[in-house]
Amino acid sequence: MLRALGALLLLGGALALGMAPSRELARRLAALEVWGEALALLERELAFSSPPMPELLAQLSRRSAFPVREWASAVLNGLEELGERTFGEIWRRGLETTPGPLFPPELEALARLGEALGRYDRESQLESLRLTREELSRLAGETRKERQEKGKAWGALGLSLGAAVLILLL
């Protein structure tokens, strides 16, 4: 009985281990979707009322979900350092310090956006936002596909590994 329980625990643990990368991809996907919504909100606000950047960031921190909410609050607080750091630097530091499941490609795309926002005319900023949103959407598509293709395989691999260990132990 004890042996059977141990075997079940081992297999369950191995399966969970195998599913971990898939869960990480799911978190990345969710974050990319939140970022996509946040950029769409920025685009709408800029297009219709062109509020100043502190107001835009305040809206994001109020109306967005994790991790954008935390990031927007960090950048909003960081605006006190304007004059010492550029807005692009404050924006990038916010991305680097806010905990969130973002991977280097989307981090880089978002950091590039920070170099364009707040510096140019509305049309140029809208164009930068659109390009970044497209880039995030492409990355989300790739992530979704990767998760679909590899998610089950990782689970099976974890389970097989667990089974192999179990056989060895038995």
């Binding site: 800029l46 062109s50 509020p51 100043p52 950047m53 502190p54 605006l79 304007l82 004059g83 010492e84 750091r85 550029t86 807005f87 926002l117 707040g118 510096r119 140019y120 005319d121 509305r122 049309e123 140029s124 900023q125």
Partner: protein, 298 residues
């Protein structure tokens, strides 16, 4: 906070520290901070430029930091003003911009690669218009008046104080004033509130071309006096003529050192020919500005 401290708050910290090292007696006399990439930062004092204390030339990064600081990283909201060449700042101060201009279809689209900035300190001199207004209104009525001075001669400062005195009735009986502040320099509205005292009976229309603003004010606010800064366009003259025919008193400024200089410029020649204005106030530049009131042919 004194005006000097208020203005240097628009500079990046390193330049702010250097500005604070200027001898305190000079603080109230600083007219501009000039920042040019690769050159030492300077301040303008009564026509001269002095280097700021400390070492090191202004960097392009400092120029960019300054613009980001004053716009709060919101160039898109300030760009319409930047297309006119400067950004209006809280307190009535302004930041002039120079660099590479990006145009599209003949319109200024953006300013990239900043090369120099001019942080201009707004000075209100309450009371400077009192002797002028006393001379103008010797018979108890305000005549249509032109204020003349070369650029930087103090026209806007005098106009602002004249508007305040007329509006509050501090020299003559109080009159309702409509102020066309096309460039936002006279009243310097900030979130709907004038940053300079322009009197309690003054209605301000900012950012609107003068010719349109004069007629809008005339229709909407029924001013007894219409005031505007820097007449430069034939359309302004047509609008002023219309307003004068409707019974409003006129108060305006022009770039000219004297009435004689006014008469040789085609636009201003026409202004004189229309006989809209009966008095000219000529400002003479110097350490202490002097005013002279002259009669114009009418």
């Amino acid at each position: 906070m004194c005006t000097f401290e208020e203005v240097i708050a628009f500079l990046p910290p390193a330049l702010r520290l250097r500005a604070r090292e200027l001898p305190k007696p000079l603080w109230d006399r600083v007219e501009e901070f000039r920042l040019r990439a690769g050159r030492l930062p300077t301040v303008s004092l009564e026509g001269d430029e002095l280097h700021l204390p400390g070492e090191g030339a202004v960097t392009r990064r400092e120029l960019e930091l300054t613009v980001e600081l004053v716009t709060q990283a919101s160039a898109h909201t300030a760009l319409e003003a930047a297309r006119r060449g400067y950004l209006p700042l809280k307190g009535g101060h302004r930041l002039g911009l120079c660099g590479s201009v990006w145009t599209e279809e003949g319109q200024v689209r953006n300013l990239r690669s900043l090369s120099s900035l001019n942080l201009r300190v707004a000075h209100a001199v309450p009371g400077c218009g009192a002797p002028v207004l006393r001379a103008l209104g010797a018979n108890g009525e305000l005549p249509n008046t032109l204020v003349l001075a070369p650029p930087g001669g103090g026209k806007t400062t005098l106009l602002r104080d004249l508007v305040r005195l007329i509006s509050d009735g501090l020299v003559l009986r109080p009159l309702r004033v409509g102020l066309c502040d096309e460039r936002g320099e006279v009243a310097a509205l900030w979130e709907g509130e004038p940053q300079f005292d322009v009197g309690g009976r003054t209605d301000i229309l900012e950012g609107c071309p003068k010719a349109q603003a004069l007629l809008m004010l005339l229709r909407a606010m029924t001013p007894q006096v219409l005031a505007c800064d820097e007449l430069t366009d034939p359309a302004d003259l047509a609008a002023l003529t219309h307003c004068a025919n409707c019974g409003s008193r006129l108060l305006a400024t022009v770039h000219a050192g004297s009435v004689e200089e006014l008469a040789v410029r085609p636009l201003y020649r026409e202004l004189l020919d229309r006989r809209l204005f009966s008095r000219a106030v000529v400002i003479r530049r110097g350490a202490d500005r002097a005013f002279r009131v002259e009669a114009l042919p009418c």
